[in-house]
Chain length 420, copies 2
Amino acid sequence: MSYQALSAASLPAYLASVPALRERFSDLGDLEVAEVGDGNLNLVFLVTQRGRPEQTLVLKQALPYLRCVGESWPLTRHRMDIEVRALQVFGALCPQHVPEVFHASSEMSLVAMRRLGEHIVLRHGLIAGTVYPKLADHLSTYLARTLFFTSDLHLPPEAKKQAVAAAANTELCKITEDLVFTHPYDDSPSNAYPPGLPRAAIERIQRNAGLRAAVAEMKYLFMTAAEARLHGDLHTGSVMVNGDETWVIDPEFSFYGPMGFDTGAMLANLLMAWLAAEPRQRAAGNDPATYQAWLLDTVCAVWEGFEAKFLALWRAQEAQGQGFIGKDLDGDSAEAFRAAFMRRLFADTLGFAACKIMRRIVGLAKVADIAGIADEAARTQAEVRALRLAEHLLLNRRDIASMDGVRAALRGVCSASLSS
Amino acid sequence: MSYQALSAASLPAYLASVPALRERFSDLGDLEVAEVGDGNLNLVFLVTQRGRPEQTLVLKQALPYLRCVGESWPLTRHRMDIEVRALQVFGALCPQHVPEVFHASSEMSLVAMRRLGEHIVLRHGLIAGTVYPKLADHLSTYLARTLFFTSDLHLPPEAKKQAVAAAANTELCKITEDLVFTHPYDDSPSNAYPPGLPRAAIERIQRNAGLRAAVAEMKYLFMTAAEARLHGDLHTGSVMVNGDETWVIDPEFSFYGPMGFDTGAMLANLLMAWLAAEPRQRAAGNDPATYQAWLLDTVCAVWEGFEAKFLALWRAQEAQGQGFIGKDLDGDSAEAFRAAFMRRLFADTLGFAACKIMRRIVGLAKVADIAGIADEAARTQAEVRALRLAEHLLLNRRDIASMDGVRAALRGVCSASLSS
């Protein structure tokens, strides 16, 4: 079938034409179909058999245009191929945290997959102050498995290099290169400065040669370090949760890049949720300390769980045969490399987390956690703290030895009286 | 024409079939043809019109097999495509140091190019104690232009990513991954230990967890850091020289990798020439200090010239439009990034140089500079000094601020009484 945008009316006929989809419903003539996408990039249909809620799926179709002027049709359609391939790769490595793909069509630029009907977007859950006891365990498992098994630490060199080539995603990488690593720092017209944020706070990051050099180092790593297949946009809006399950969705930015970009993105978004929790919990009449304590424990447990699981996968692989370094003649060398590797990866993680935080405060795209704080003074305080935290993490990324250093940095920015 | 290995007898008919080659000679019936390759990997023909020495070329053809058992025919033939493409890319960027390609055929796995009839292999010239006053200037120009213009600092992201994909060279990278970064350190049967080298000197690098972790970090960078199109095997045997000219040949290992691998390879080979010069000059009845002083000045001038020219290209590009970091609002940020970039690249350079030195002492492939020293005691001393130098440069690569630190390291290994 050549490409055509589907509608609620045309969807049943399309489902009927695909055996893998047709067989999921008992009566295609009596479906409930709702289009819930925002309509700018993708159509998103929720499809359910009336009266049989277990017969359900979500179908996502890329629209053949982007808001950005000048993006051509073929590039736009390629976006969905990348998302589908990433869902398949990550799903094979981590089926408990990546929704199953039922059917994908490159021609139609669509994917049909498991519907997560009893889950909400993690960011919404964190804004609401919900505790997810299994979240850190789930996210650290997802990160460890997807990053380890797609890297040179696991794959033979030939398979890894083929995987890198197959995961090329130039167009969406360019968006990140601009919106995360360039525009927020050079006073670009695309930036959206929060109304209450002092100009001095903005200039503090835009006119700081050391900070901008460090941002450029992170950008250069993003563009050159083909370590693992990344999700590429792993914020708390790309995660669906309930009390029992955690699902990572929307990997359309996936490509081979530096591992710290995924781990850093998740840390950044959880740290911003922590900063937002104080005014939000207070406004809700709660002592913020309770929810913030859980959130901070979760941030730390995501990194520490990731590190432990990643190292366990690595050691298990090595126990089955020759490792990355070759034979470990003195018995200490493989562990010495692992220690150096994780120190470097933690520094990368903090550096990328910092860039992700700064772009969310002064760049084009915001996070609702902070941008949605109703009280302007409280919102501005969270924004200034976020920028100070990012500055500290970025400039000290190679000297912060563990998450204790991140806890200390949070205490620092919250105890200081920050006007900008 | 389908593939067939050429011979001196069949060559004239092949030349006649290619207009671009035919027109280079006045009489194809009266050529002087000599096959000078070693016959394991490539045939190399020198072709000259009898009595007209200016009508000459070199023709290099890949043989459809490798010594290594198991390499398949198509991969082997692909080697020549890579070399041709690299010669073309580097030749366009630096025509004064890369021989002109007259004709290439993927089907025949051959390339015909300018013959460097009045030049010798740089390694042979250094072994003979010849001074090349222009060498450092030429090599630093070659390195600066090839590395800068193929990097993200110059190319638009889309062009860079396409270039990375087009330069894939999995098979030859695997040789480097094994022979440079793995086998020398894990007591592989492929190693060739010099007869006089004490076992303790070998175990000093093979049973040193810190050193092996650092080697693994360099290997990981080699496999993941797609910074620029590299020569990939830039030792002094890949350079042809005379008093006026310098030509870089044999880029069959070319791929997108870390810049420091090329700069480090050249530094390593010049440093080994320096270590070899002491016994060689002494055996020739000369004061070694004279030639060593020129060699060490040359090592330093290669790096320092490279750094100055690379930075000049970068600044010139930035002066024409927006730079890598975006707009430089305070006027200091772009230079701060450049300083951080060069510090990191110098550390990479020293780390890769160290790996290149160690593999040449204990690994499979030797350098004639050191391996050809006739006196065993003198040869062993040079080998032990080379290993100590490599150890020092690798472990201190991030703390050595300039070539002064390399000079100091050389003084250190030469003044110490090293038994292993």
